[in-house]
């Protein structure tokens, strides 16, 4: 059984390499001049979680894809219930103390349900999208998948956890793409969100709006859909400032700092600047494993979680960064391959969705360390310290291994 599960050795090897690399960096992140005991011991717990996660992955890989498909509904409903519970009784922790992301019972933090939510949303989306004979061609067709994402997304945004929210949206669009939705419809579906972002610049929003109207005329959706789209874009362009006012001050700050990190270097922008300094001072080959001064002297924030990739950059240099990014690239390409070769639509969508989730995490997290993305506090798969997340990543590995083993040696027709 294990032999069959590990049929996709490259995938398993990439995941193991990334995790081992990650634990080595978590260990280094704990080696600071003024020792923070929790961080210093993090690597031991991460190692323990790795054992649990690997066993869970083996277990997950033993479950047939059909079982996953069948269980998508109950798992999804259970997950949503868990998120609701978290919202009601959750607690904050660490750098995200003001968020209710942790499910806590009797003072013991059990985990972050939002990490598992990424998996059950992928399963449920795959099920809903696979149930259609044809890819959605109108916005109305999108209501079911949209609803699948919207419920947990809302619960998570209420925690509030902007980063995970962004990941959900990324997963949603990636899976729509994989299900065969044409790109104009993807753009139209995303248009209110784009309007929201561009609303801060009247000129940019104006140009965008003209392009949108052109796209609507060219794509010719249902008339009322077209009207609704235009109205939605106008509304989000106008209500954006109002929404802005409702953002938490720290969120406003973070977004502003994203736009101009030099604006307040001692406060929020400080993190990004110190991360860039750490990475930039690494040079070609880095300052040496364990020897990053930015990390060692606590200039790097959250160096074992959100900013763990800055440690890679500082201590191992461009070489280490290239190796890490190369491993991720290999993992993504392998995942796409698994999705291509999957036996059926559901398996294919699950595989692509899980890969998409990782992809969005990597882009947002790594981009954040160089100030290419806003600081949203989302972790780096296989690297960032955190039990729930490592477990979630390895559950995904298990599912992918299963899909891969059920798939064909080479892509062929699906047996429906």
């Amino acid at each position: 059984m294990i032999g069959r599960t590990l049929a996709d050795r490259p995938l398993a090897a990439l995941a193991v390499l990334l995790t081992v690399f990650g634990i080595a960096i978590v260990y280094s992140a704990g080696q600071t001049d003024v020792v923070v005991p929790v961080v210093a011991r993090a690597w031991q717990r991460q190692l323990g979680w790795f054992v649990v996660a690997a066993l869970s992955a083996l277990l997950a890989s033993r479950a047939s894809v059909r079982v996953l498909e069948w269980s998508a509904w109950p798992v999804y409903l259970g997950g949503v219930a868990l998120l609701t519970l978290t919202l009601a009784f959750g607690s904050g922790a660490g750098t995200a103390a003001s968020q209710k992301g942790w499910l806590t019972i009797g003072g013991i933090r059990l985990g972050q349900p939002s990490e598992l939510a990424k998996i059950f949303v992928v399963l449920m989306l795959a099920r809903v999208l696979a149930a259609r004979r044809e890819a959605p061609t109108s916005l109305l067709d999108l209501w079911r998948p949209a609803a699948v994402v919207f419920v947990p997304w809302t619960l998570i945004m209420l925690q509030p956890d902007l980063g995970t929210g962004i990941v959900f949206i990324g997963i949603f669009f990636c899976m729509l793409f994989w299900s065969g939705v044409k790109w104009p419809l993807l753009v139209l579906a995303a248009s209110p969100g784009i309007s929201l972002v561009l609303a801060f610049s009247t000129g940019a929003w104006g140009i965008w709006f003209v392009m949108l109207v052109a796209l609507v005329i060219w794509y010719r959706p249902y008339l009322w859909e077209g009207i609704a789209l235009v109205v939605a874009n106008v509304v989000s362009g106008v209500i954006a400032p109002i929404l802005w006012d409702r953002l938490q001050p720290y969120q406003q700050r973070r977004l502003l700092v994203f736009l101009d990190p030099q604006s307040d270097p001692r406060a929020s922008g400080y993190h990004v600047i110190q991360s860039q300094v750490a990475i930039g001072s690494g040079g070609w080959f880095g300052k040496g494993y364990l020897d990053g001064s930015q990390k060692r002297l606590a200039f790097l924030p959250a160096q074992h979680t959100d900013f763990i990739f800055s440690v890679v950059g500082e201590e191992l240099g461009f070489l280490g960064v290239s190796v890490a990014l190369g491993l991720f690239l290999g993992l993504f390409l392998r995942t796409v391959r698994v999705a291509q070769r999957a036996n059926d639509q559901f398996s294919s969508l699950v595989a692509f969705g899980l890969g998409a989730s990782w992809f969005v995490h990597v882009i947002v997290n790594v981009g954040m360390t160089l100030n290419l993305m806003p600081i949203t506090g989302i972790p780096l798969p296989f690297f960032s310290y955190g039990g729930s997340f490592l477990l979630s990543c390895w559950l995904a590995v298990g599912i992918l291994l299963r899909v891969s083993s059920e798939g064909r040696g080479r892509a062929g027709t699906f047996a429906m």
């Binding site: 044809e134 001692r266 930039g280 040079g283 070609w284 606590a298 960064v321 290239s322």
Partner: protein
């Protein structure tokens, strides 16, 4: 079988997805390349600035010696206490906690914060001169103050204290204004610099080179590594400074002035210009300036009506009075207007009628008809009124200019003010209008009154020419090569005769007969200068030299509110006697310096 999942479609989408993933990762990678490779230098610098703090290792200032090798200024071991902090707020917090352990005034806290703002990457100095007790208390509590830096730093010490302040000056922390000046390029906030006297004049030689110790700090400003974070740059000790000062003579002069006398004295070697001693009384204790002057002491110095911070030898300008008559006499000889044995047409009857004004002689009884030689000895004003008239206003002023009475002497001390004298007849035209003044100014000028204000140093310089062959010597405190310019074109017989006339001053019948020295022929001239602040209390002058046949020393003494010049003469005479007699074998100082 849905068409959207037709194998060809899946293959196509897979290719698109793979290409997009590849492009995204490559884009990320190139962003890292830009940051890590192309901007590596800049970020390395920032990272080093983050982690390293420069703790200055002050260089011991150069030791200042007198001509016999006695120490004028040296360095004692001292401690500075400073704090490293990541920001102003945490510095204030640390200072507040620190004030629970050692007494800190709010003023000291504010000063430390100001110092920090000036140079946030260097430790902010809290106590520039901490006592050993304070240091040991702090060492005990070191763990509680992670940014605390206790640094051994030499502090300036003047063994003779106030006795040498008039020429040595003092040191203090560099000010913000000084930091902005070109002269202080390369200096850093918190450094000690010379603030006056030799300390300021020879700052470049005395400062040495400050070293740097690099300590490693973490993001909260806690010192993580005290040494080895980067190789230290050791401080470089400065070269010593050898001066012409005769410390024994200097101490003697200070003793003579005591606490009561107010004024200044300078002793020069007329052949080399070597400043043997220079004292302005009262003065201040330069040791109290080290490590920050106590506010009450500073206030008392500034409010003292006797102005201890005002150098009465270099800055003070006083009407030279009769000491200037030698200039009139020298000019008359040089211009061949009169000879030393010539009498003036009008004999002295206690005054001189010029136009509708009557000019008094200081001696109301009158001196009768006397020669220039005698007129110098008895300081007859009437004789010099007429001598001045014979020289004429144009030549008298031009002569005064050529004798450098409106110049600085060029002594190597920064405080010197230029003396004041009309630059030409133009001066009177401009000041009073062409018809606003009369030839009567000649009479005043020729007896050293009127528009004439000289520093004690400049009068001493003028007398070095009289003491030698007509060449003045630029006064110099530090042994160095000086140029000697001839300022009066007189024969050695004429100069000898002038000195003989001055010897008459301190002989029976002279104005300062009581200042005579047994066994030494003293020559000099008294002066009594009108005091614009208090007409009843004149300033007393005496400029003299000895031995008259070949002077080894020129001494100028000025006593503020000293009354008659005789008092100054007695002081000068004691100085000269001490120098010539006690100093058995003065160290020879050649013109070329040592």
């Amino acid at each position: 079988m849905s068409t959207s999942f037709h194998p060809n479609e899946v293959q196509r989408r897979g290719r698109i997805a793979s290409v997009l993933v590849l492009l995204t990762i490559v884009t990320l990678g190139s962003a890292f390349f830009r940051t890590q490779v192309l901007r590596h230098r800049q970020y390395t610098l920032e990272s080093e600035q983050n982690r390293l703090r420069e703790v200055p290792l002050p260089a011991p200032r150069g030791i200042i010696y007198d001509r016999t090798g006695q120490i004028i200024a040296e360095n004692l071991p001292g401690y500075t206490v400073s704090l490293l902090a990541p920001g102003t707020d945490s510095l204030r917090a640390a200072l507040r906690r620190l004030s629970g352990t050692i007494a800190l005034t709010p003023a000291q806290i504010d000063l430390a914060v100001r110092r920090f703002r000036r140079a946030p990457n260097r430790p902010a100095v809290i106590l520039a001169d901490a006592s050993f007790d304070v240091v040991s208390v702090l060492e005990e509590h070191r763990i509680e103050f992670p940014g605390l830096i206790i640094q051994a730093s030499p502090k300036r010490y003047y063994p003779d204290g106030a006795a040498v302040a008039s020429f040595v000056g003092y040191t203090g922390e560099i000010t913000e204004a000084e930091l902005g000046r070109d002269a202080f390029r390369g200096y850093k906030a918190g450094q000690q610099v010379g603030k006056g006297g030799l300390e300021k004049q020879y700052e470049g030689q005395l400062r040495g080179r400050e070293g740097t110790r690099f300590v490693e700090v973490d993001a909260r400003g806690r010192v993580v590594r005290e040494a080895g974070a980067r190789a230290d740059v050791p401080p470089e000790r400065a070269a010593v400074l050898r001066t012409n000062i005769d410390l024994d003579l200097q101490r003697y002069i200070v003793e003579l002035f005591g606490d009561s006398l107010q004024g200044g004295a300078v002793a020069l070697d007329p052949k080399s210009g070597a400043v043997l001693a220079l004292h302005s009384a009262p003065t201040y204790d330069p040791n109290r300036f080290t490590g920050g002057i106590p506010a009450d002491y500073w206030k008392s110095l500034n409010t003292d009506p006797r102005r201890p911070l005002y150098n009465k030898v270099l800055q003070g300008r006083y009407e030279p009075g009769s000491t200037w008559k030698l200039a009139t006499a020298a000019l008359a000889l040089e211009r061949k207007v009169a000879d030393l044995d010539d009498h003036m047409p009008t004999s002295c009857t206690g005054g001189y009628q010029f136009g509708n004004r009557y000019f008094r002689c200081w001696e109301k009884k009158g001196h009768g008809s006397i020669s220039m030689r005698q007129a110098i000895a008895v300081s007859c004003d009437v004789y010099f009124y007429q001598l001045g008239l014979k020289i004429g206003i144009e030549r008298l002023i031009a002569g005064g200019v050529s004798l450098k009475f409106l110049d600085r002497t060029g002594i190597d001390l920064p405080e010197e003010s230029p003396s004041q004298f009309p630059y030409a007849v133009e001066y009177f035209n401009k000041r009073y209008g062409p018809r606003g003044w009369s030839n009567a100014v000649v009479l005043n000028l020729s007896i050293g009154q009127g528009e004439n204000a000289q520093t004690v140093m400049n009068m001493a310089r003028f007398y070095t020419a009289l003491a030698t062959d007509g060449r003045e010597a630029t006064p110099n405190v530090v042994q160095r090569t000086v140029k000697r310019d001839s300022i009066m074109n007189l024969s050695s017989e004429q100069l000898t005769a002038l000195r003989d006339a001055m010897a008459g001053v301190v002989q029976a019948g002279g104005t300062a007969a009581s200042a005579a020295i047994v066994g030494v022929r003293l020559a000099g001239k008294t002066g009594t200068a009108q005091n614009p602040q208090d007409p009843k209390r004149d300033h007393a002058w005496f400029v003299g030299m000895a031995p008259a046949e070949d002077p080894k020393v020129v001494v100028a003494v000025m006593l503020e509110f000293g009354g008659h010049g005789t008092r100054a003469a007695r002081i000068a005479s004691k100085i000269i006697e001490r120098y010539l007699k006690v100093k058995a074998a003065p160290v020879p100082v050649t013109e070329a310096g040592l």
